[in-house]
Amino acid sequence: MIAAIAFNLSHFQAMTLFALLISIAFGFLSRRRTSERVKYIIWSLFLFLLIGVGIGWAMYPFSR
């Protein structure tokens, strides 16, 4: 029998995990050298988070 798996993540944790995993995948697919991959992953993750939080703040006035 397969045990049920469950995760309780906050919005920020879920967004960060999503951004990290997608950044890693993009980094591995689009760059060959390890140093280039690391740079790409960090830069992509930073932009994901910046834009995600930015859009969150931009929507804040309309949230109520």
Binding site: I2, A6, F7, L21, L29
Partner: protein
Amino acid sequence: MSEDTATGTTAAAAEATITPSHHQRNEAAAFAIGVAGWFVPGLGHALQKMWGRALGCFLTVGALVFLGIGMRGNLFSSEGGDAFGMLGYVADLGTGSFYFAARALETQGSDVAHAEGDYGTRFLAAAGVLNLLAALHAYEAARGRKA
């Protein structure tokens, strides 16, 4: 006609006859690699000895599916009914064999009434689309395009 010219003509003719079938074989092999990459995330790259990319695809797609199911995301089925359901099914099916593994792991069903379930649905769809992108990348690499 000299022998050299005749030989050159024969070689050119042979190349002209061999190249199309060889090209077709390469196309078929590239297509098979693309399908393998879709069915098992990372296998398309592993078959071409691109170990880093293979491992990266396998782990990221696997993690997205595992987290998506753990967050009780909606795993669409073919009986979705509307266009969005079908679109979600195609995206989820993009994970290949992981779709069926996710079906087996999804013992509690989805819970999209909460934000986590909604995030989980996005994780699952993103995993599928990401794997389709990786399979296309493996296909292009097998065709000899720069990758």
